[in-house]
Symmetry: C2
Subunit: 206 residues, 2 copies
Amino acid sequence: MSVLTGGKLKLVQAALTLITESRSLTSLGLRELAREAGLNPNTFYRHFRNLDEFGLFVLGFIAQEMKSGVRELRRMAENSDQAAQETVAFVYTYFLNNPAATTIAVRELHGASPLLRRALENQLDASAREMAEDIIERQLVAGIADSTILEISRMTIRYILFRAMDYLEKPDQRLAIRRETERFINRQFRGALVEHLSPAEIAERA
Amino acid sequence: MSVLTGGKLKLVQAALTLITESRSLTSLGLRELAREAGLNPNTFYRHFRNLDEFGLFVLGFIAQEMKSGVRELRRMAENSDQAAQETVAFVYTYFLNNPAATTIAVRELHGASPLLRRALENQLDASAREMAEDIIERQLVAGIADSTILEISRMTIRYILFRAMDYLEKPDQRLAIRRETERFINRQFRGALVEHLSPAEIAERA
DNA sequence: ATCTGCCGTATACAAGTGTATACCTGATTC
DNA sequence: GAATCAGGTATACACTTGTATACGGCAGAT
């Protein structure tokens, strides 16, 4: 069964707690985890071979969480701008509700462990493909090559993740960050529509 | 004198070396540093009060390095696209030549130390303002509000830093990353020129 | 009723950590 | 010429870390 019970769950929760209190996944110690979980240090070995394995497990755990979150994302929108706005609001709300997962993702994407980095990159890429697919299927933007939509999706997801920490930590800037992200997305797609034109030509027609 | 000599310099260099070998600034140990520098552990205390102070010092050190790098950036370009291309090439070349500074910046911008994070944010913001100023002064893009240019500059700098690690670690993707970054910039500015128009209106005129 | 695994515990060890105290040496300063 | 001081060293302490070994209880299968 994939349902976590007992000590293993406690260890994972301990990791999430510690990370939210501004630590990084790779810097967690075995004894530190056990302490936070209220377990004997050696219980760790009953569930994981070493800390690397633990890190990957936690990553898989939050990846699963995230996936079920993203699946709810499919909703209706009249036009692309509205879709962008709704998606941005949704994603940032998700971050607020899952601060530990968010912090892990941001920290480890550029962290010291190549293993975790690769795993996270794949995860992000999968999300980007999903986003692109959604945009293409629902024909939210017309006249842009599929490959370009995918590229912009990737950039957007990276950018949003980049802003996620600020969003969590600076409550007074949340609205500003959302608006800014919407502008980011809108400019990318509008820019893609006219990227074969020179700025002067665009200015003429605008 | 601001010229570093002897042990202090050795310690900073040791940090840069260790970080390039995939470590993070905040995770470095005092004894580890001394070992790498070939010094007695306690020599550390002759130069720094503690590891936090050391971290800030290293950050200041690379910030200075970066500034002198960015100053060379002022060069001529016929139009904005060319300027983007040259700037992108220059910045990524800088990353290649300063892998340690780059790695530190990327890691600590989202690292566990709020102190270093704030310091780096300020540093990035200063670079963004410089970039925006340059664009405005040289009138590389016309018809975009100064505040928008600054916002796009900020986004661009964040994005480039985001891609810097990949650029360092994946030599076979360097050209692709540069091209992608150029597209990013061009779309942002072109998109900004037409962001008051709906996608349909843009499509009509393109 | 016994055996086998799983899960948790207790103790122990070698190694590494940050830091305090004290000592040494070569310049610089008065 | 003596004193001061920055920079480097040696030893020591208390503490944390990952891990190995060994032990206990409780399930389910035989």
